[in-house]
Amino acid sequence: MSDDRIDITLRRRAFELNVAIALPARGVVALLGPSGSGKSTLLRAVAGIESAATGRIRVADRDWLDTRSGIDLAPQKRRVGMVFQDYALFEHMTVAANVGFGVPRRRRAQVVARLTETFRLQGLADRRPSQLSGGQRQRVALARALAPDPDMLLLDEPLSAVDVHLRERLRVELQGLFQTLDTPTLLVSHDLEEARQLADYVGVLVDGRIQRYGTTREVFDHPGTVAAAQVLGWRNLLPVRGWSNRAVTGSWGRIRLLHDASLHTAMLGIRPEKVSILPAGEGDLDATVVRIADKGAIHEVHCCLVDGTPFYVQRLWSDPLPRPGSPVGLGLPLQHLVPLVDGDGMVPTQLHRLGRTLFGGVQSCPSAVAVS
């Protein structure tokens, strides 16, 4: 980690954004969060388009913002390359004019020539953006943002405007680009797979606050808080009602632990691929199979714990499957059980309500929707 950092507070009507993260000298930082969590606002604040109330932004050893010493660089001065959700290309200019827009006139021709080659846009230089495919548009947007040689690259959900069929391919392209790029990159996303594949570091943003920040693997494997786990797609969450000597209990049953459970543990989480399916009675928890979803490479077994809590297990496509309706035991390897605490300002009662919503209410099991 360098000395670079983002540390800002920002208020808009009822919304408050409060983020403090250290930036790496290179590599991709992904900010994940539900819509409305403040992801895009943060990106715009870093670019200087939205103004922050207080805070400091330091990139490449230069202060872009430092409210204490009265520094607040205009977007024009921040040396930032921004790629917008729908790319926001200049529709009335050619590809070459788009790419060269941010480059001083005397170096423009040379830079445009280099970047159109790098991004395989040769032959398209005289086209308008409306004549390009989705992938070409993305490459123009990236080339345009990188042309002025920025100190930081900002990407706002770069693949969300792209047709699903193209997304996987463009993601691979982005991955290839990032591997060769020295510019530190901040990527905003609500797509877990995108973040997982592209990012070196992940921050989880909920309600304008960073709930978790670390390397991609750390964060995905150990979300830390319940809210972060939900954002990161954890669906097997067991609310903890009580804990005794080396065991936790809930209405779903009792699990023995290797060590004492922390008093702060609100839920236990486990990824669906880490759970094994055993004969009835032989597992750590008893469950009933509700249905099986075919997801291509994997099958997802939807189960139901004794208190009705839904529980998901993922098997490889070639593994044998239990029959829907049959009782099974679930093996939960202790090393994969992750304790989760209440996040940032969440009080236990809220958490319990959250638990009820998740497990008692909408997702009640078996399927509560029945049309007569």
């Binding site: 670019a47 200087g48 205009a74 921004m82 917008f84 926001a88 200049f90 827009f101």
Partner: protein
């Protein structure tokens, strides 16, 4: 009579051209401010800008008469510098026309500015483009439709003014008599043939202008849709 009508037509076109030019200069920054501001001031300013749309031309004309006349602030200045008040002169007519046609220039521009892709503007900023360069190279090309509409409507509406001009400019042939007043005069004089010729010309011109505006808008919006 024919020469008379020709002089009147030339004068009318001159008035419309000068007015529209001045209005584009004044109206562009005003429309941009209205399109982007979030201040409380926006509503009263918008209302004042739209006043000439609903205000009786006579009310407008009356206040302009007071403002530009020998005892009004603008009139006094004019007397001090040029020796005569602004009423019943071409300059007075231009000022009156600008007020009268203001909404026809500001409103299409404001709508166009409100419709442009704000992200493209922000992209230009983050690429280091100054606000002036962004305006010229990114905003104006996107708002070109609004500029054409403003130009055409402002011009056509100035051609058609009557009440304000009658009060501020009077009816001096070759000096302040514009087409709309010439028609009124002919009707008053029961010269229906003369009124007919002028009316038909203006009717056709107005219809063509509006068809052009709507056709262009339609083409462009279809183009944007298809592309």
């Amino acid at each position: 009579m024919a020469v008379d009508a020709w002089h009147t037509a030339v004068l009318t076109v001159q008035l419309a051209a000068v007015t529209v030019l001045l209005l584009l200069l004044v109206g562009t920054p005003l429309a941009w401010w209205l399109a982007t501001t979030r201040r409380r001031w926006k509503v009263p300013v918008e209302a004042v800008t739209a006043l000439p749309l609903v205000l009786p031309p006579t009310v407008l004309g009356f206040y302009l008469l007071l403002f530009l006349g020998p005892k009004g602030p603008a009139g006094e200045l004019s007397i001090r510098w040029f020796g005569s008040p602004l009423t019943f002169t071409f300059s007075g007519l231009v000022i009156a026309s600008c007020v009268y046609s203001l909404p026809f220039v500001v409103q299409p521009l404001q709508a166009a500015f409100e419709g442009i892709d704000k992200r493209a503007v922000e992209a230009a900023w983050s690429l280091g483009a100054s606000r002036v360069r962004t305006f010229v190279q990114v905003i104006v090309p996107q708002a070109r439709r609004g500029f054409v509409t403003a130009l055409v409507l402002g011009f056509a509406h100035t051609l058609g003014e009557f009440g304000v001009v009658l009060m501020v400019g009077g009816n001096i042939p070759g000096e302040t008599q514009v087409l709309s007043i010439a028609i009124y005069e002919r009707v008053e004089m029961l010269d229906y043939a003369g009124a007919h010729g002028l009316s038909l010309a203006l009717l056709l011109f107005s219809f063509l202008v509006l068809s052009l505006v709507y056709l262009t808008n339609r083409r462009w919006s279809m183009g944007a849709h298809g592309g």
